[in-house]
């Protein structure tokens, strides 16, 4: 697995040595910082049945910022290599295509987790500063971290596939954005003019990212989203592998 770690660290380096990483991180942290403050204010005005952690990650604002991360992280993975032609050097080196895919995917997931870190630092920091014990509820924090990890891993695999499909990073970003958004809104179809508890709304709730997040942010680890996101990630990565391999055969 040595080629994996060499490629993995090369990807990480090239991401964190570019100013873009810090711009994205700053904007995302700023957005969530502002959101955090408004959540605290809102909870001061009115009691909420849900925890601070839960409220933050259930907010629509959080999701808007969150979903935009993925096209930005993944668009360059393969599209840039194809655009510059460096993919030729990469795939004629003695490395397996699967190692290349996994390394690039793994690096993108790692980047995503690093971007997420500051947001999770809010809770212990807030507790430290205010002495408010309920600000940091381990169950809610770890549950939502797991949830965001799973959802992120799935979205990054969408981006990885999109990036392998085109030689233009912008098109890759657009594709990723469209599919990430489509998937996100698919979950809302459960409320689409149907009675709760019907087969339709029950079925659609399996796709609902917000629904998954609601459960996990309570600190309840449900195995269904776990299986759902991990199996989809594996599927999309194997599709990416096939896309790259088929390039050898196509015109």
């Amino acid at each position: 697995m040595r080629p994996f770690s060499i490629l993995f660290f090369k990807e990480l380096r090239s991401f964190f040595l570019s100013p873009m990483a810090y711009v994205i991180m700053a904007l995302f942290t700023f957005l969530n910082g502002w959101l955090f403050v408004s959540m605290v204010r809102a909870m001061q005005m009115q009691a909420s049945p849900r925890s601070l952690v839960h409220n933050l990650f259930a907010s629509g604002w959080f999701w808007m910022g969150f979903l935009i991360l993925f096209p930005l992280i993944t668009m360059r993975l393969f599209a840039d290599e194809r655009k510059m032609g460096t993919i030729e050097g990469l795939l004629t080196a003695p490395v397996r295509t699967s190692e290349v895919v996994l390394a690039k995917y793994g690096a993108a997931v790692a980047v995503y987790l690093v971007l997420l870190l500051p947001v999770f630092a809010f809770f212990p920091l807030f507790r430290l500063v205010t002495g408010e014990v309920t600000a940091f509820q381990p169950g809610a924090v770890w549950g939502s971290l797991l949830g965001l990890f799973l959802i992120g891993a799935f979205h990054v695999s969408i981006g990885t596939l999109a990036s392998a499909l085109t030689a233009n990073p912008l098109i890759a970003a657009m594709l990723t954005f469209v599919f990430v958004m489509l998937h996100y809104f698919l979950g809302f179809l459960q409320n689409f003019g149907m009675v709760t508890g019907s087969v339709w709304s029950e079925g659609m709730s399996y796709f609902s990212t917000t629904e998954h997040m609601n459960v996990l942010a309570e600190g309840l680890v449900d195995s269904r989203p776990l299986v759902y996101y991990l199996s989809f990630s594996v599927l999309l990565l194997s599709l990416t592998h096939h896309v790259l391999e088929s390039r050898k055969w196509r015109a």
Binding site: L7, E88, G89, K248
Partner: protein
Amino acid sequence: MIEARHLTKRYAGRTAVDHISFEVGKGEIVGFLGPNGAGKSTTLRMLTCFLSATEGTATVAGYDIYEDSLEVRRRIGYMPENVPLYPDMRVGEYLRFRGRLKGLGYRECRAAVAEAMDTCSLAAVERKMIATLSKGYRQRVGLADALVHKPELLILDEPTNGLDPGQIRQSRNLIRELGERHTILISTHILSEVEMTCGRVIIIDRGTIKASDSPQNLIRRLRRPGSVLLEAKAPATAATKLAAIAGVQEVNPSEDQDGWTSFVLATDPQSDVREAVHELAIRESWKVRELSSRTASLEDAFVDLLKEESPPESSSSLKTEN
């Protein structure tokens, strides 16, 4: 070292490489020569496992390019056309990354990179960003990348493309030097290059091999009638006297200023008529200011070969995309 058998690559509606078979022995420097779009790059890409063959196969160092692709790639140092590099990496950093990726250990890699940079005279730019390098340096970084893991076989796709004459001469010398340690397959459409560096030339046009021989043999085989140039102070009517010399096929006079005339004599390939021309000039007491013979170069052989096979189209196919 390379053994290709009926290697074929078909793209939708077009056959880029059509049943090519050839061999490259250990230690040879072989030039792959052909106009743009002839299928050179496609063949090299199949050998380096970047593309799969539609039909046929090849072995590199005894390993099948399809079955043992990793083993093949371990033994090849490949420099793709136009030398794609990561612009945001430093030269040393890039070469160390490539060396490690090609399976060198950490210490081993440091030493190998230092050696490759030394061979390609890159020490001065080790800490420079690749994006800021000139074309000549980029080419050398690509070459250093190709040889960093000390492969048995070097495959260089148009290594001197876009370099200035001085740089071309340098890289030619470098390739000749490398030929002492590696088997080399280079592709090019520049003839003088193979003429000077390669022990053998494979000429390829529109996906098929037209000839495979040493440059000298190719020239001999394809030698056109030679020609001799005579510039003398003689009337244009002297042409008939020159035409009477044995071995001269045709004389084309053209008058210059001050009574000077230049005669171009087409001669038989084997005969050298310069001595006879000199004697004639003395007998007729013409003043001579030039008497020289032109021999056909590989360039002529190459152009002839392509013309032979494809009368009107070849000149246009020289310019089509790759």
